[in-house]
Every structure is written in C-alpha cells, then in structure tokens.
C-alpha cells in the first residue's frame, strides 16, 4: 500500500515538532502513579492503615463519586482508585491534542497541501499522527509499569492498570482521528475530542454516584468507567481492555477509510453560503468578538446544563447508599447526618466544574492570540478600534463564560437534586455556593491575559499554568505535597461550599489577584508590538 509512502519521514517530523511537549506529557502521565504510590506508602505504612483508609474513603460520598469506589483495600487498589480517572483524562487530552495538531490543523493551515504535493502517501500524515499517538500512550504505560513495580506492587495488577490506561489513550487516538475527518477546523475537532472526554468522565461519575438508584450502567458506557472496571489489584478483569482496544481499532479503520476517500482540506459537512452584506449589528470589534465566541459559548453552556442535571440527580442517592452501610451510618450520624455527604458531593462537583469553566475562559481569552497569529488582529487594529476595545471584546467572554458555566451547572445540579428531594429551594442554595467558585477561574483567565500581553509567543503557558493548578489541587493531596505548593493553585483557596466555612477573605484576595493580572496584561499589550 503506497498510501503510507514516506511514513517514516512523517513520523520523524511529528516527533521533531513535538520534541518538547510530548516528553512532558509522557513523563507526567508515566510518573504520577509511582508518585502517588510512594506518598501512600508513607501515609499508610501497614495493611491495617490501608484498610482504615479505604473505609474512610468509602464513607466520603464526594470521593466515591469523583474517583469511583475503592475496589481493593490494598496499596495497589488505593493507587488505582486515586489516580485512575485522572490518568484516563490526561491520556485522553494528550491523544486528542496530538492527533488534531498533526491532522486537521495541518489541513486547515494549508501545510497538508504542501505535503500532499510531495512523494508522501495520502494516508501517511494521518498514519504518522496515529502511530505517534499510539506509541506515546504505550511509552507512558511502560513508565507506569516500571514505576509501580519499583514501588513493590504485583505484576498482574500493574499490567492490568497500565493496559487499561494505555487502551483508553488508544481509544482517544481513534476518536481524535475520526474527529479530524468530520469538521473543517482544528478548533472544532479538538472540541469534539474534549467533549467526549468530558462526557466519559461525567458519565462515570454519574454511574458511580447513582449506583444506589440503578444508574451504574452509565459508567459502563463511558471509556473511563470501562477502564476502571478492569479492577486492577482487585481480581483483574481483562475483557474491558479488549473492548477498549477493539473500539480504538474500529474508529481508526473508519477514519482511514474516510481519509482515503475524501479530498484534502474537505469536510463531511458542506460549507453553506453566507449573507452578501453584514447584518446591522455586525459593526464593531465587540460584535465580531460575540460572533467568534458565541458558538463555543453556547456549546459549553449546554454541556454544563446537561452534566449539572445528570450529576445533581444522584446527590441524594449518596445519602441513601451511605445509610445502607451499617458500619458507616454510625459515623455519619456522628458527623451530622447524611447531608454533609450530599454537601461534600455538591462541593466537589462544583470544584471540578470551576476547573473546566476556567478552561473555557482560557479558550475564550486566548482567542486573542489566535486572532493575532492568524493576522486578523492586524486588520481589526488598522481600523478605528483601540487596543483596549479589541482585548475587551474577547476578555469579556473570558470573564463572563466561567460565571455562566458555573451558575448554569450549579442551577442545573440544584434543580435535579431539588426535584429528587422535593425541595426546590436547593436551586438557590447551590447557585449561591457556585458563585464562590468563579474567582479562582478568573485568576487563571487573568494570568493567561498577562502572558498574552507580555510574552505572546508563549501564550501556551496559560494552559500549562491551568494544568499545573488543577493537578496541584486535584492530586496534590494524594502526592503528599507541601501545603505551600498546593497554595500556588487558586482553586485550593476556594471555600468548599455548600457545607464548608464560607470564608470571604480568600474570595476577595482571588478577585484582587485576578484583577491585577488582567490589568497588567492589558497594560502590557497596550505597549507592545503586534506580531
């Protein structure tokens, strides 16, 4: 098949272009399990301590919903429980970004056309992205195996866990390869991939949260949930791994079949004609900002609405689940009834939602950099548009969309929870709590604006900062990191509402930091050359 002529060269090109970011991804993913294992060895040195830890975890609804149940009260079981879902999400994001970057993005910029004019085969660019994607997951898996064996865990469980993570990654390589065939912009391809990751995670959470009400099947239809069902270190089941790998193969075969038939640069969705004249409202940088951002904003909001409704519906199921466990009900009563579990559950869902909302805010504000490097900013600023208005036209979205996302999510969660317990005032309680989660995402948006204003070519640092902040907040505890490190993440400082102590000071400080960052970003951009 000469469709893949020049595959070796294409693979070398992909590796060369990703020589910095890919190793970072692989190292982070590969080292995390060993890091968690060594932290847990320190925290729970004996079997008894491990069993006690597992019981404590099982009694915390937020933990179970967010990370799934502990399947075995051993070191391996706890490591898998703590890091499995996070690793699945990480390999998913790595795979989607990698494949899109080397397929649809290349077509969109026209570089694919240049490649197509050389002696490189029609399928070689896609094949190269897929091969590197599969290999990256495999290498990360090998690192996981090495790290966990080093920590003294048994071979069977280690292999099962690593294979589960690798095959989830492979499945997302397949999903991204498919998503690269359908729409005509890399932004949309990435969005499709990210949406599948988000949906997989949310379905898994809903499935685990709704176990008591028979909703566990939701977990089974999620790749991330399926990977968790491998049950590493808890009497391994191997068939979910086979299912994940088969799904990946099917998606890849379909993608290659489409790619073989379609024209370079074309899409399965035909492009419609537009109006010959601009509507009366399209008359300023602000209107253009709305036009460029609205599709994304509506999609995200809809996703937050759906997941909010889904996740809220099971908030009460948790209390029920807890009450059925006799050893736990004592503890629960002592701690103040099952409502504290419901609250902790709602709070942890809001916390995760605020991280995702920050990603949307970042995407909105970094549109500035996209517009600049695409050459659109030059055209706008050559018009009678001052720099602050132009930055404002996207910063507005960076600031507003996290609020809308979090409020919609909170309201939806409050509504479905309220309906399930017959108390609709829950909507106001949850929305009120949701608002305190906004400032932390604003800090990330402000930081991204500062990077854009001061060192535009390094705008990707905004994403790196969000990644680090989320890893610190979500995994910092498990890695037994020092408090000062955890404090670097703005999400660490958000009061844990509902249920926790409503501290006003951290919220004010976060707001001030966000304002200062955004202000400096705006000032820095006002002084610098457009690129």
């Amino acid at each position: 098949m000469n469709g893949i002529a020049g595959l070796g060269q294409m693979i070398r090109m992909v590796l060369r272009r990703d020589r910095i970011q890919l190793p970072i991804w692989i190292l982070v993913i590969g080292m995390l399990p060993a890091g968690v294992a060594s932290a847990f060895i320190g925290l729970y040195p004996t079997d008894a301590a491990l069993r006690a830890a597992a019981v404590t975890i099982e009694s915390n609804s937020a933990f179970v919903a967010f990370l799934g149940p502990v399947q075995s009260p051993t070191l391996g079981g706890l490591v898998v429980w703590r890091i499995g879902a996070a690793l699945s999400v990480l390999v998913g994001i790595m795979s989607v970004l990698l494949v899109t970057r080397h397929t649809r993005a290349e077509e969109q910029t026209g570089r694919r056309e240049l490649i197509g004019s050389t002696a490189i085969g029609r399928q070689a660019p896609l094949a190269a992205a897929v091969v590197v994607g599969l290999a990256a997951n495999l290498v990360a898996g090998l690192l996981i195996v090495a790290g966990l064996l080093q920590a003294g865990l048994d071979v069977g469980g280690t292999m099962a866990f690593a294979l589960a993570i690798v095959t989830v990654g492979w499945l997302f390589v397949g999903i991204a390869a498919f998503a690269a065939q359908v729409p005509d912009s890399s932004r949309t391809s990435n969005a499709v991939g990210m949406a599948v990751i988000g949906a997989s995670f949310a379905l898994r959470v809903a499935g685990d949260a709704g176990r008591a009400s028979g909703a566990e099947w939701l977990s089974w239809i999620s790749p991330i949930g399926l990977a968790a069902r491998v049950g590493a270190f808890a009497g391994e089941r191997w068939w979910p791994i086979v299912v994940l790998a088969l799904l990946a193969v099917v998606l890849l075969v379909v993608s290659f079949a489409i790619s073989d038939r379609r024209d370079v640069g074309s899409t399965l969705v035909p492009t419609r004609l537009g109006p010959a004249e601009a509507g009366p409202s399209l008359r300023s940088a602000w209107a253009l900002g709305w036009r460029l951002q609205r599709g994304l904003a509506v999609t995200w909001t809809a996703a937050f609405l759906v997941f909010g409704l889904l996740l809220g519906a099971f908030a009460d199921g948790f209390g029920a689940l807890m009450d059925e466990t006799p050893t736990l009900s004592d503890v629960i009563t002592r701690l103040g009834g099952s409502s504290i579990f419901t609250n902790a559950y709602l709070a942890s869902m809001l916390s995760v939602a605020s991280g995702v909302a920050a990603a949307h805010g970042l995407q909105a504000v970094l549109r500035l950099r996209g517009e600049e490097s695409d050459g659109h900013a030059e055209v706008i600023l050559a018009g009678s548009v001052d720099r602050r208005s132009w930055v404002g036209s996207h910063l507005l979205f960076g600031a507003v969309v996290p609020v809308i996302d979090i409020v919609v999510f909170g309201a939806a969660m409050g509504l479905s929870f309220g309906i399930s317990v017959g108390d609709l005032t829950q909507v106001f309680r949850v929305v009120g709590s949701a608002l305190v989660y906004v400032p932390a995402s604003w800090v990330m948006v402000g930081l991204a604006l500062l990077v854009f204003g001061a060192i535009p070519r390094r705008s990707g640092l905004g994403w790196a900062a969000l990644g680090v902040a989320l890893i610190l907040t979500l995994l910092g505890g498990a890695l037994n990191l020092d408090q000062w490190l955890l404090d670097l993440s703005p999400f660490t400082h958000t009061p844990s509402l509902p249920g926790g102590a409503p501290g006003l000071l951290p919220v004010i400080v976060l707001l001030a930091v966000a304002g200062a960052l955004a202000g400096s970003g705006l000032m820095a951009f006002g002084r610098r050359d457009l690129e």
Partner: protein, 296 residues
C-alpha cells in the same frame, strides 16, 4: 505641498535584526506614492509603524498630522489599509467582512462598494475560508477602496490578482488619484508602480536610497541608446560616462550617464547617424542599479 505622511530617521529592530535604519519618507496629499524595495527591505515594517501596530525605536513619524501610535484610532477613521498577507475570518462571508471592516474604520460608501464588487467580479456570499488567495485579496481591496478614507495604505495590493483584475485595480487607483485621494503603495512589481505612481521611494536594508518623481529619478541615471552609424568612432568606449558598449558591425548599443549624454551624442553624430533610438531608463533598470552587487 501638504504632507500626509512625514517620516524622519525611523529606526526599528527586532531582536538583533535591524529592520529600519534611519528611514525617511514623505508623501504629499493627493499623490500616488510608490514604495519600492525587495522582500525584507523594511516596507511592511514601515507601514506597520504608520498604522500604530508596532512602535518605532527611534525617529519620528506623522500620519495625517497625527501620531500614528497615540492617535491610532482617530487616524484610522481617515485611512484604509490592505495588508500584505490578507487573512480573513473563515466563517464570515466576504460581504460581511467588507462591511465589518468599513464600519470598524471610517465608514463605507455603499454604492461604491456594490460597483467595486461588480468590477472585481467577487461573489460576496461565499465564506472566507472557501476563497482563493486572489479572492481574499479582492475582499480586502474592495473594503479599502470603498472606504470613506483620504489615505489608502496598500501593501502589495495586487498579489494574487489575475492580469485582468490587476488592470481593473490600476483603473480604480487612477480614478481615486483624480478624486484627490492619497495612496501609499508598497510593491516590488515595477511595471505597476511605473504605471500608477507619480513619485517613488526606493528602500534598501531599512533606508531610503532614492526618492522623487519618476522623471527626477530618470535624470539621475543612464539613458539607453541604440544607433546604426556610418562608421563606429574608435574612442566611443573610452568616453567618460559611456557604459556597456556593444558593437555589432556598425550598430552600437550603450548606456550613458545624464552628464555625458551630450559628448556621447556629439561623438556618434560626428561619425554619421543612420538611425537612432534612445530610451529613458525603465524603473527596473533604476531599481537594479541600486541593488546590483548589493548584498540583500
């Protein structure tokens, strides 16, 4: 004569690369000014400073009697710009982009827009991502040419246009000049500049090396002479100011400096002239003279 663009000693570096090194430029109201130079000479950098998109490191620049950096938004209501590399929003239609650019500037003349769309044969309902390079160029050109602007700044305006559209563009610019619009046109297409511009400035490695009307510039350089003579004067090649002499039987071809023109003509008339063609230097020759042997 009122100056629309006045630039003195402009300097700009990007890291260790010096883009502008004391550039001077003066564009008078109502003229079509050619801004000539090879790739990387500093044309686009100058234009981006004039638009306040980047800031000069040194020197002064005035556009429409304002400061291009500080007064950018006010000035941009009075000028229109076509970038060298036209990038448009993929999901907007060409018609939408034309209107949007006009509205973000100083307004657009609707009737003129429609007539330009017709003259340039653009389909304004297509999404920008489906346009070819030439069609994207047309969108930017129509937006600029239909704008209510007193100054047009055009960076390589005809790149990607077919010859028919290039000619149409030339006609529109000539009409504009007749209507008193000032045009600064950066280009390296010499025939186009020669046909449209009254004055040119030639830039090389960040400095203006020549500036003036085409006639002025021609006086500074050599005239090409081809003649059939009765006999070839033996000392013609030795005359001061005669260059590139080629003798083929009794036919001679040579170039002569303006100052030596008279003595050269004397020499050949003394030898007896059967026929004579003299040609002023083309802009291309002018241009090449400045760049020949120069390390670009």
């Amino acid at each position: 004569m009122e100056s629309v663009i006045e630039v003195h000693g402009l300097e700009k570096s990007f890291g260790s690369t010096v883009a502008l090194n004391g550039l001077d430029l003066s564009v008078a109201r109502g003229e079509v000014h050619g801004f000539l130079g090879p790739n990387g000479a500093g044309k686009s950098t100058t234009i981006r400073i004039l638009l306040g998109l980047i800031r000069a490191d040194g020197g002064s620049a005035r556009v429409l009697e304002g400061d291009p950096w500080r007064d950018a938004t006010e000035l941009h209501k009075r000028l229109a710009y076509v970038p060298g590399d036209v990038a448009l929003w993929p999901m907007l239609s060409g018609g939408e982009v034309i209107d949007l650019l006009g509205r973000m500037g100083g307004g657009i003349d609707g009737a003129r827009k429609l007539s330009l769309i017709e003259r340039f044969e653009l389909d304004p309902t297509k999404k920008c991502k489906t346009y070819s390079k030439g069609n994207r160029q047309k969108v930017a050109l129509i937006a600029a040419l239909a704008a209510n602007a007193e100054l047009l700044i055009l960076d390589e305006p005809t790149s990607g246009l077919d010859p028919l559209m290039e000619a149409e563009f030339g006609r529109v610019i000539k009409e504009d000049a007749g209507n008193g619009r000032t045009v600064l046109m950066a280009s390296h297409i010499l025939s186009e500049v020669e046909a449209l511009c009254e004055r040119v400035s030639i830039v090389r490695t960040g400095r203006i090396v020549e500036s003036g009307t085409l006639d002025d510039l021609r006086h500074l350089t050599r005239t090409t002479i081809s003649a059939r003579l009765v006999s070839v004067p033996p000392d013609l090649g030795e005359l001061n100011g005669v260059h590139d002499l080629a003798v083929d039987g009794t036919t001679v071809d040579f170039q002569v400096d303006q100052a030596a023109l008279e003595s050269a003509l004397r020499a050949i008339t003394a030898a007896g002239v059967i026929s004579l063609v003299s040609r002023p230097p083309t802009l291309e020759e002018l241009f090449l003279r400045h760049y020949q042997g120069a390390s670009l």
